[in-house]
Amino acid sequence: MSRVFLIWAVTHSVKEVQSEDSVLLFVIAWTITEIIRYSFYTFSLLNHLPYLIKWARYTLFIVLYPMGVSGELLTIYAALPFVRQAGLYSISLPNKYNFSFDYYAFLILIMISYIPIFPQLYFHMIHQRRKVLSHTEEHKKFE
């Protein structure tokens, strides 16, 4: 969901941001993550999961996840002045629908929401890592 938002509602919508380094940062992070993640799913379905893939999925996120989040946040931050200037996706009063929406404020709220959400997801993955990787080690011990 956040992927779709970053691509369409931020990077595609605000052309000035497309040459930023932060975009490169999250694209690389997401690409590596997805290659590993989908290999993990494919091999799991074939019942032949190399330990390396399992290890990669549950270890590389430690670096890739913060990398992706930094890229995302920096991109949104870079887009802010252009959104403000162009009044992008915003509607102000008065209008006959008696409704207003400030996309600039909305983006700031999105950025703030990373504060509670990111630690939750990150520590959930760390917890999963401990469970999954130690389980495999025990299996190996008994072989």
Binding site: P94, K96, N98
Partner: protein
């Protein structure tokens, strides 16, 4: 008279929590729950779910011990429903909020709009009308909670009050902000639109109240009986011919009326979300009616005649 023995086990751990001997055969589940509370005071009866099967449905408070499929030693499984709060408390809180909050915006209390607008009044009639309608609606709901509704369950989980109040109070503030805004734009079709919308609103409020009264009269005070509702002499109740939950139908109608009257998108969104939730409830109620009563009128739909 043969006495029963009752043992209560934890549904998850199967640990023996309580053993009751010399229980009367005609004891109800409610009485057994009271006995259980004596040994575990932190689990008051409203928090207890007792069942014959650890994964099965909860037994009802009115169920009688000897009528249940148990031997002379009955085994019940216990699940903690979590902290409970009474329906009346939740309803009063969630409805008092919007009543009060809307008025804060109507009177343009400081720090909402610019300082030059503090305590000013709108020059549009429809804004005053909207305040009257909105306030009337929530006063009606509060009075119905206190004097009309007869609740099947006494309580609901505590976390619901936070969820429900966020919904009601949040939407009330959002709607009220725009309707009472100094830059509010009155409806495109002027007084005609407002009059039509007001008529819809009033009719639906009367309808909704009529249904609440009809439902109350189905159930004697203090009982939990369930009967099929039928139209009465009151024309507003004739909607029972076509839907199972006309109270919800009228409620959606009221809010659609209010949305047309104020021509305000947040009101329309509130109506839409409310409609979605009420449709889910109506479908559930309709299904329960069909399951419980073989002779349930086949023409009826849950909430929208012929459609939904």
């Amino acid at each position: 008279m043969k006495h029963y023995e009752v043992e209560i086990l934890d549904a998850k751990t199967r640990e023996k929590l309580c053993f009751l001997d010399k229980v009367e055969p005609h004891a109800t589940i409610a009485e057994i729950k009271n006995l259980f509370t004596k040994t575990h005071p932190q689990w008051y009866p409203a928090r207890q779910s007792l069942r014959l099967d650890p994964k099965g449905k909860s037994l009802k408070d009115e169920d009688v011990l000897q009528k249940l499929p148990v031997g002379t030693t009955a085994t019940f499984y216990f699940r903690d429903l979590g902290a409970q709060i009474s329906w009346v408390t939740v309803f009063l809180t969630e409805y008092a909020g919007p009543l009060f909050i809307y008025l804060l915006f109507y009177f343009r209390v400081p720090f909402i709009y610019g300082h030059k607008y503090d305590f000013t009044s709108s020059r549009h009639t429809v804004v005053h009308l909207a305040c009257i309608c909105h306030s009337f609606h929530y006063v009606k709901r509060l009075l119905e909670t206190l004097f009309v509704h007869r609740f099947s369950h006494g309580t609901m989980p505590l976390r619901n009050i936070f969820k429900n109040c966020t919904y009601y109070w949040g939407f009330a503030a959002w709607m009220a902000y725009y309707i009472n805004h100094p830059l509010y734009t009155p409806p495109t079709y002027g007084a005609q639109q407002v009059k039509l919308a007001l008529a819809i609103f009033v009719i639906c409020q009367l309808g909704n109240f009529s249904i609440h009264m009809a439902l109350r009269d189905l159930r004697p005070a203090g009982s939990k009986t369930r009967k099929i509702p039928y139209p009465t002499k009151n024309p507003f109740t004739w909607l029972f011919l076509l839907v199972s939950c006309p109270n919800y139908t009228y409620e959606v109608g009221s809010w659609i009326g209010f949305a047309i009257m104020t021509q305000c998108v947040p009101v329309a969104l509130f109506s839409l979300v409310g409609f979605t939730q009420m449709t889910i409830w109506a479908k559930g109620k309709h299904r329960s009616y069909l399951k419980e009563f073989r002779d349930y009128p086949p023409l009826r739909m849950p909430i929208i005649p012929f459609l939904l």
